[in-house]
């Protein structure tokens, strides 16, 4: 069991013929992902990595039954690619592209919401269901099958946690990088709900960071009512400066939410086990699934 992605998922890649797209599609295929199609307008009819390329997502879906799309197209075209996938009836869209303009993304986000489709990202590493399939750029070799679910806003910190757990002999069900952009698809709340209903997942690691209040929302909406399994929380950016404050307007909107203190407090009060370092996260997750960590070695 797992969430969102499995060996049966039929995956297409938008932008497969590009440099990033072709490299990562190859990695995805090497991991065992059921890669069925690529989409590159104007290259329909060709093949790459032994996979048929289509001009449009509609064509690709009709011909191959693809139900998941990984998006690797450049930022100026990525929001359009997301909407193309949503309009074509793709059920799960994973957008790796970073640097999408915010107004493009608020529009794409509204489009996807109206279509009732799941979006992960953008500016995210994607997701891996350990031992089954991968959509995105999480390094193949760090994953290990097991019972910890991971959901994270940070890419490289996700890798750190996965690697730390795997090295400690603790495997994962699905690791989901939801992305670090201000405008995101799936939130912590939505992913945690999926983990709640996944019997294979016995503990969940949640890596948040400052900004926005999705962590606070998740604490209220899904951790506090009870997930039925341990949640190990971590927030990065405790000592980061207020950063680029968006004038008065940003302060008016966010008030005191969005700070590390606010998030740590919300998670603690909701009953999550909050850790100070990634090493502690690994140890706590190992303990939660009854596998005392041998890590923090080196």
């Amino acid at each position: 069991m797992s969430i969102l992605l499995s060996k049966e998922s039929r995956v297409l890649v938008q932008g497969l013929t590009g440099r990033e797209g072709s490299f990562h599609a190859e990695q995805m295929k090497a991991y065992g992902t059921n890669l069925v199609a690529g989409v590159s307008p104007g290259k329909g009819g060709s093949t790459q990595l032994g996979i048929p390329i289509f001009d449009t997502v509609v064509d690709a879906r009709r011909e191959t039954g693809a139900d998941v799309s990984g998006i690797f197209v450049p930022a100026p075209f990525a929001a359009d690619a997301i909407m193309e996938a949503a309009a074509a009836g793709i059920g799960l869209i994973v957008c790796i592209t970073e640097g999408i303009p915010l107004y493009d993304m608020v529009r794409a986000r509204a489009f996807v919401a109206a279509a009732g489709v799941k979006l992960i990202g953008p500016n995210c590493p994607g997701l891996v269901t350990a031992g089954q399939a991968k959509v995105g750029i999480i390094p193949n070799h760090i994953n290990r099958e097991g019972s910890v679910g991971i959901v994270s806003r940070s890419g490289t910190l996700t890798y750190e946690v996965i690697q730390g757990l795997s090295q400690a002999g603790v495997g994962q069900t699905t690791s989901v990088g939801i992305g670090g952009d201000p405008i995101l698809g799936l939130s912590f709340t939505e992913v945690l709900r999926l983990f709640k209903d996944d019997p294979a997942t016995r503990a969940v690691v949640m890596i948040g960071e400052i900004g926005g209040s999705d962590e606070e929302a998740a604490a209220d909406e899904v951790i506090s009512p009870g997930l039925g399994k341990p949640v190990i929380g971590f927030i990065s950016g405790r000592t980061a400066p207020p950063g680029k404050r968006m004038g008065h307007a940003g302060a008016i909107i966010s008030g005191s939410t969005g700070t590390a203190a606010s998030k740590l407090k919300a998670l603690t009060q909701a009953g999550a086990q909050v850790c100070d370092t990634i090493e502690e996260v690994v140890a706590a997750a190992a303990a939660a699934v009854g596998q005392p960590s041998s890590a923090v070695h080196r």
Binding site: L157, S236, I252, I278
Partner: protein
């Protein structure tokens, strides 16, 4: 990218948002000329930061002689690190009431948000904290934008019904400007109600989404000279850099990883000199560019590099670091924590090159604090 007040007002004027008449001056004589033409004026330092008024960067001048003397005081001032080189001289306004009108991105709502308040001015943030009921908000649908009936409702909710006919087109125009310029934030504060019943944008802010700059190539560099030179240089190098006030330079890949590194430096008793994210997939040239940038900052007393080798192999990253520090003839203490693919090979290479490798991020943070400050724990 941020704009200076007068640049924002030029754009307001072009969009049909009323602004006071004004002229840009770079010398006291130009300010005197402006006062001669405009009558009593406000002389305002043009710096891309808030709090100018409290810092003495805004003064009134009734006559040309006043203007010359006031301009002499303001030009050359330093406000929050920015030297005042330009002043905006504009007709003094007879303000009876200060409103607030702004737009920013509400990340929780995943939408832009328009904010209107009858209690504008310098204290708007406090007002929002203490009297949230005086702040009216509207989340326009991102495809439709604010519809007239939604704007009217916003205005009535803000208790500004009598100004509805004047305010409605102003809100729509502000949103239009935000879209045109891909604004992360656009503000009119104060939006001044004058003695004669008119509304005028007495001050304005506009910050553009860096990710959308490909749509605004003509705007490149409009105000770059006014920025922190190191931040400007980082932008030219396409590095995500934020200056902080400590002494330990930090380089990492991924915003979360870098933020976490700052946290670890702080836990170990140090203070970071910067946030510097070289992005996912560390490449040798980028590491080189980042090291060069930090090496040129006199506040930096030591550098910590924290890299997760995902796709890129650890030994390649190590080669990049070694080459860069040799090319730059780097004398500062340098600690590298590198993990992921081929981490052992990478560490071996670093050790051979005389660079301290560390296996854990916590250990690396402790080490660089020791080396840079001499203060072990």
């Amino acid at each position: 990218m941020k704009f200076l007040e007068y640049q924002v007002k030029e754009r307001f004027r072009a969009a049909g948002i009323p602004v006071p008449d004004g002229r840009l001056a770079k010398t006291p004589d130009e300010a005197a000329l402006a006062a001669g033409a405009l009558g009593p004026i406000a002389v305002k330092a043009q710096v891309p930061v808030g709090g100018r008024g409290k810092a003495g960067g805004i003064k009134l001048a009734k006559t040309a002689a006043d203007a010359k003397s006031v301009a002499g005081e303001i030009l050359g001032m330093t406000i929050k690190g920015y030297t005042v080189r330009e002043i905006w001289c504009e007709t003094a306004q007879d303000i009876t009431r200060e409103l607030y009108l702004g737009l920013t991105l509400d990340r929780d709502a995943r939408k832009p948000v328009l904010i209107l308040s009858a209690q504008g001015g310098m204290e708007i943030e406090e007002v929002a904290e203490t009297h949230p009921e005086t702040i009216a908000k509207l989340h326009p649908d991102p495809w439709r934008g604010p519809l007239p009936f939604e704007v009217r409702d916003l205005i009535f909710r803000a208790g500004l019904g009598p100004l509805q006919a004047q305010l409605t087109p102003l809100v729509v125009k502000l949103y239009g400007l935000a879209r045109t310029y891909d604004a992360l934030t656009i503000e009119i504060n104060p939006l001044a109600l004058t003695q004669d019943g008119g509304l005028v944008a007495a001050d304005g802010k506009l910050e553009i989404d860096e990710n959308a700059m490909f749509r605004h190539k003509d705007l490149h560099g409009t105000d770059e000279s006014e920025e922190d030179p190191l931040e400007a240089e980082a932008r030219r190098r396409r590095l995500t850099y934020v200056r902080l006030d400590g002494s330990i330079g930090v380089i990492g890949n991924g915003a979360g990883l870098v933020m976490n590194t700052l946290d670890l430096v702080s836990r170990e008793g140090g203070r970071a000199a910067n946030f510097l994210d070289i992005g996912g997939g560390a490449k040798a040239e980028v590491v080189h560019s980042a090291l060069e940038l930090l090496a040129g900052d006199p506040h930096v007393k030591g550098i910590l590099i924290n890299i997760f080798g995902g796709i890129t192999r650890g030994d390649e990253v190590a080669h990049g670091i070694i080459d860069a520090s040799r090319d730059l003839n780097l004398k500062l203490p340098l600690v590298v924590r590198m993990t992921g693919t081929r981490e052992e090979e990478g560490r071996q290479l670093l050790r051979e090159a005389g660079i301290t490798p560390e296996a854990t991020a916590t250990g690396a943070a402790r080490k660089i604090v020791e080396l840079a400050t001499g203060a072990g724990r």
